[in-house]
């Protein structure tokens, strides 16, 4: 080799750097590809549910008394005379251009309906996850650091109940107890009837909108209505987050560096919150992300119980009216958000945790 050794070394370094960039680029592309593929899979499933399973979607629209010409015309108009792959292609194109069809029961486009109802769900799920994180993480840490204590036992029971209690049942019991008996919280709905429609929707989040409008009274009314459904959701995320925090912490506390820190005389509080807790922050983000996605799913049941005008309520109403466009549209949106949060927390984990690189 006649080359100057330093240039060779620089080249080597540059090569390594570009290789790293390329690897990162490939990782990003791979991520985008898997997300797109999963979305496509979701679309395939909703397409399958909407076009293939129903015995005759045309009959569902024109009714069984329609003449043959009307039937055939509707069939052509719906594109059902074309082969399935072509139909699927049209479906995908429609969805990506933001067309989910008309809702039979509301008479509006499904996209419009969904954007109207989504903020209510978002508000409830967000307050729910905040409750879950704020209570769940500290409780999980305490349970792990005092194994066998009362808090540990409580976390265990709460965790098990989170697995085996129907969310809609807890919501109903909460209503019976805190609304009907104790009168601590507001009843079903987002506001009392006489406050309805007084606040101009800006963000669609009532808590934000009422504050923007300077209506403190409405804000408090919204809080009393929100607190129970959000707490019920929060309970389930608390159960999951606390259980996972506990098990992560137990893993850490049995490690040798924790023993070392203790032997060196580091105060127990620091051992727990700095030495043991710091390494588990990253996996916790994944857990919280998954739990948030789960809350979107859980909100379907809770919204039905609390007559909460969100996507879940929209979905269940559509289900009972056999309003297929609305059903598939909400399934698609909830599924897409679910997949997105799932994948994002997966990526965050890989980016933030040096061990996973």
């Amino acid at each position: 080799m006649s080359q100057n050794p330093t240039t060779a070394a620089t080249l080597e370094v540059a090569g390594a750097a570009s290789r790293r960039t390329r690897r990162r680029l490939l990782a990003v592309l791979g991520f985008v590809a898997t997300v797109l593929l999963t979305f496509l899979g979701l679309l395939a499933i909703t397409f399958f549910i909407g076009r293939v399973i129903p015995i005759d979607p045309v009959l569902a629209i024109v009714g069984d008394r329609a003449s043959n010409e009307v039937y055939q015309a509707a069939r052509v108009a719906m594109g059902l005379d074309q082969p399935l792959p072509v139909q699927f292609f049209h479906y995908v194109v429609n969805v990506f251009s933001g067309d989910l069809g008309q809702s039979v029961s509301t008479g509006r486009s499904v996209v419009e309906d969904l954007s109207r109802f989504f903020p209510a769900t978002l508000e409830m799920a967000t307050i729910g996850i905040i409750i879950g994180v704020v209570l769940g993480v500290p409780l999980g840490v305490i349970a792990a650091s005092r194994q066998g204590s009362i808090i540990d036992q409580i976390i265990r029971v709460v965790g098990l109940l989170g697995y085996s209690m129907p969310a809609f049942w807890l919501g109903l019991v909460g209503l019976a107890l805190f609304y009907a008996r104790l009168r601590w919280v507001g009843g079903p709905g987002r506001l009392d009837i006489f406050y309805d429609g007084l606040v101009q929707p800006v963000t669609g989040l009532l808590l934000v909108d009422s504050l923007l409008a300077g209506e403190i009274e409405i804000f408090w009314n919204a809080v009393t209505h929100l607190v129970l459904p959000a707490s019920v959701l929060g309970f389930f995320s608390l159960a999951y987050i606390a259980r996972m925090t506990r098990s992560f912490m137990l893993d850490q506390l049995s490690q040798e560096f924790v023993t070392t820190a203790r032997v060196k005389g580091v105060p127990e509080r620091l051992v727990i919150w700095r030495h043991a807790f710091n390494p588990i922050r990253v996996p916790l983000i994944t857990v919280i992300g998954l739990s948030y996605a789960g809350l979107l799913e859980g909100s379907v049941m809770i919204e039905t119980v609390f007559s909460w005008p969100g996507i879940g309520n929209y979905l269940t109403t559509a289900l009972l009216n056999a309003d297929m466009n609305a059903v598939l549209g909400s399934t698609l949106v909830i599924g897409a958000v679910f997949i997105f949060i799932n994948k994002i927390s997966d990526v965050l984990y890989r980016v933030l945790d040096p061990r996973a690189r």
Binding site: I45, S164, P166, A167, L319, M324
Partner: protein, 299 residues
């Protein structure tokens, strides 16, 4: 030689004896864990209740008594009566049959399906693996309840369709497990030995790979049953599962919604049944995992 000695013999003489011995060891290990005993008892009681419902239930599940509607819990009606004067306790007892049917059928459909797909993917590898696992991952990354709801919406409400929908959404987890297990078994020498004897892939998978996946599958299925019960009850609650007048627990809670503010027992009582049975499956599943898969103990 006592039965116990026969069961615990170090060198069993027949396959039957080996299997019986293993079952016996698992059983005794389970008995040492109080929670799994409790879980087992709950499930045993569920099965007995379902079998003996005609004799256990004090009233019929559909017999109306309008003079006695919405009566609070009392000596005559332990859980009170609903809006048609039907005895809620009797309906909860009859409902155990429905719950058991749903749980049993979902397990019977989804576990073998997932097992087979996962084993095929893991055994053949390559494109088969990529395609099958791609589909599995797509299903796994979707919200189960929403998917089940959409399936039932298309298939039409009813208990059979609810079972199909839940089964369709729960096989992917089993496929993942079966694939992971198959990958560890695939290259072992006894598989090579069978292959060299000329066994077909079908024979290798069914006769030699699948039996080794069953224990992790049993654990997972038991743990998942709580979720299945909750999903089924949720479908019933929304009105897409079992249809009235069937005494399905979720549907019963849904009927009680209207009266929750004054007659709390109508909606509350069936909920306790759901919680107890789900807890039973959780306890038993945890116990089974500790016994059959000691690696992951305490997690």
């Amino acid at each position: 030689m006592s039965t116990r000695d026969w069961l615990l013999e170090d060198s069993p003489h027949s396959r039957l004896q080996a299997n019986a011995g293993r079952a016996y060891r698992v059983f005794t290990a389970l008995l040492r864990n109080p929670l799994s005993v409790l879980g087992g008892l709950i499930i045993l009681i569920l099965v007995l209740t379902a079998l003996l419902a005609p004799w256990l239930a004090p009233y019929s599940s559909t017999g109306q008594d309008l003079a006695n509607r919405l009566a609070p819990p009392s000596g005559a009606h332990w859980m009170g009566t609903d809006e048609l004067g039907r005895d809620i306790f009797s309906r909860v007892i009859w409902g155990s049959q429905i719950t058991l049917t749903i749980v049993g059928l979902v397990a019977l459909i989804s576990a073998p399906l997932g097992l087979l797909l996962g084993a095929v993917a893991g055994y053949f590898g390559g494109w088969t693996d990529r395609v099958l696992m791609g589909i599995t991952d797509i299903f796994l990354s979707m919200p189960k309840l929403i998917l089940a709801l959409a399936f039932v919406a298309a298939l039409g409400p009813g208990i059979n369709n609810a079972i199909i929908a839940i089964a369709i959404t729960s096989w992917p987890a089993y496929a993942r497990i079966a694939r992971a297990e198959t990958l560890t078994i695939r290259n072992s020498e006894f598989i090579a030995a069978v292959q060299m004897q000329g066994a077909s892939p079908l024979r290798v998978i069914v006769g030699h790979v699948l039996p080794l996946c069953t224990s992790s599958m049993i654990i997972r299925v038991t743990l998942d049953m709580a979720g299945v019960i909750l999903t089924a009850a949720g479908l019933g609650f929304i009105g897409l599962g079992a249809q009235p007048p069937l005494p399905e627990w979720g549907a019963m809670i849904s009927r009680g919604r209207t009266f929750i503010l004054d007659q709390w027992w109508v909606a509350t009582m069936p909920g306790f049944a759901i919680i107890i049975v789900s807890l039973g499956f959780c306890f038993l599943g945890d116990g089974l995992r500790d016994v059959l898969d000691p690696k992951s103990e305490g997690k």
